[in-house]
Symmetry: C2
Subunit: 130 residues, 2 copies
DNA sequence: GATACCGGTATCCTTTGGGATAGTAATATC
DNA sequence: GATATTACTATCCCAAAGGATACCGGTATC
């Protein structure tokens, strides 16, 4: 993982509709920072409040520590998450969302609802098929 | 790509908060079907109306035909996209969104806005750093 | 006859994502 | 003294994602 936080701006693709390119690259930019299997679930679970490493691991179900560690570092780099160490014994490490990542609230909300609904749709369609 | 359209339901992780697990797996389910670099941009570009293979390729900027073909097939399987062949000479192939995929409208809308905003934020922060 | 367009395939390759497993120091608990 | 917990890191490995390049048949255009 390099220090690069955003990829370079898209080469402007010639596009007949003006709004088109802007819309597509908006989506692409979002997908670029929120890529992978874990970032959105991870951010979502932190919307419930600050959590410790192990707690996050439990919330997410089956993420390995290596992956979780990597994801958290990327989210720190991109200023979604802040990591704080408390000198208790043993040390306590707290991860919490930055104010900026609150801007993802609507996205997460919509995505969660859609996901829940989508699963239900599949379950129903399986039932009617039998 | 097998016929599997959804992964099996999450093993229920024991989770103190009730809403927690549901929220996280909602997100995970959504991410599971919308994974990768291209699916969301692809669906988004089709919200502008039905398009031909080459047109989609142009809208997306730099996707190779192999990848585009694969993504379209997956979206067909998951009932987001319908492919129609017209017997013109040469044949015309039209891809368009299903009514179901219209349910992604809010998600796409939020994500696009967020992405546009996020890029602007980065650009600004680069300026102030110089 | 050469070139270009359309809707893809085929082949090859590199990168990454992500999982499995083990181990670490420091402390607390039985 | 053995075991558990926390917050990780290290090592190894595999599969999937995705890109580069070339090519195909059919048609239209120059």
């Amino acid at each position: 993982m390099e220090a690069a936080i955003v990829k370079e701006p898209e080469t402007d693709h010639p596009c007949s509709e003006n709004a088109c390119a802007a819309g597509v690259s908006g989506i692409r930019d979002a997908v670029y920072v929120l890529n992978g299997k874990w970032k959105l679930p991870l951010i979502f679970t932190l919307t419930e409040g600050p959590k410790r490493f192990k707690d996050i691991q439990r919330s997410l179900g089956d993420i390995t520590p290596k992956i979780l560690s990597k994801e958290l570092k990327e989210l720190e780099l991109n200023e979604f998450v802040v990591r704080t160490v408390y000198s208790t014994t043993p040390v306590t490490v707290i991860y919490e969302l930055t104010p900026y990542s609150k801007s993802l609230k609507q996205v997460l909300h919509e995505l969660r609802d859609w996901g829940i609904n989508h699963r239900q749709r599949i379950v129903n369609s399986r039932k009617t098929k039998q």
